[in-house]
């Protein structure tokens, strides 16, 4: 599915997640965040960097991982990305939605 985000044509799946991480830019991330009702701050970007690093290193994402990340604690994570933090933050980061149950 094609979608125009930040004046770029991007491939997304039916849930709105990017199909190809290489199409991601910070502008695309900002736009995706806006659609989720989130205004990006430095702290948000710090989390996005962390998630993208994890993804590049092929490491699974979980809420326990967030707790151990040293980047953010769980409370802040829920505050920054309300209503499903890992789902929303991965969408904004342009990486696939985590499949884990924890």
């Amino acid at each position: 599915m094609k979608k125009v985000i930040a004046n770029k044509e991007i491939d997304v799946n039916e849930e709105g997640y990017l199909e190809d991480v290489s199409q991601w830019t910070k502008e695309v991330g900002t736009e995706l965040a806006k659609e989720q009702g989130i205004d990006m701050t430095d702290k948000h970007w710090e989390v996005i960097d962390y998630l993208q690093d994890k993804y590049k290193n092929d490491e699974a994402l979980s809420i326990r991982g967030i707790k151990k990340s040293g980047v953010i604690n769980i409370k802040e994570f829920y505050d920054l990305f309300p209503g499903g933090p890992l789902k929303k933050s991965t969408l904004i980061a342009g990486i696939p939605k985590p499949k884990s149950c924890i």
Binding site: S62, Y78, P82, I102
Partner: protein, 157 residues
Amino acid sequence: MSTKVKKMLFILSKGTIENAYAAFVMANGARMEGIESEIFFTFFGLEAIQKKKLEHLHVATVGNPAMNIPTMLGGLPGVEALATKMMKKEMEKLDMPPIGEFLEILSDSGCKLWGCKLAIDMFHLTEDDLIDELDGILTIGDFYARADQDGTQLLFI
């Protein structure tokens, strides 16, 4: 969508490790989906929120046909501990947090944790026996009041 689940209320009444994890995984999963969640610990479920007991929950090897251990063997000393140890090892491989850490994660995620007043009185427990993350001690009436909104589901474990 009017059918969407907005709030999940769990009642944990059993003190076996598999039941505690069932409640915790579902309560955490709800929060991760943007759904409110709360757990009400009653009767043997209170074992999971007692500071001295929560890391010593066991899997039931007696009266549990799915364990594939003959009932006679399941009752021998050490069998339950061994089965529990093996299960914990498998859980660690999947990055499942131990009970204490899981309770911290739930609390930080905004999942409310409640103790059942009747059961706490019955087992002669005080607040000092219970985890610091506990949000309070409720009667069943208080708990029902928390279910009084559209899109709420109650689940007994």
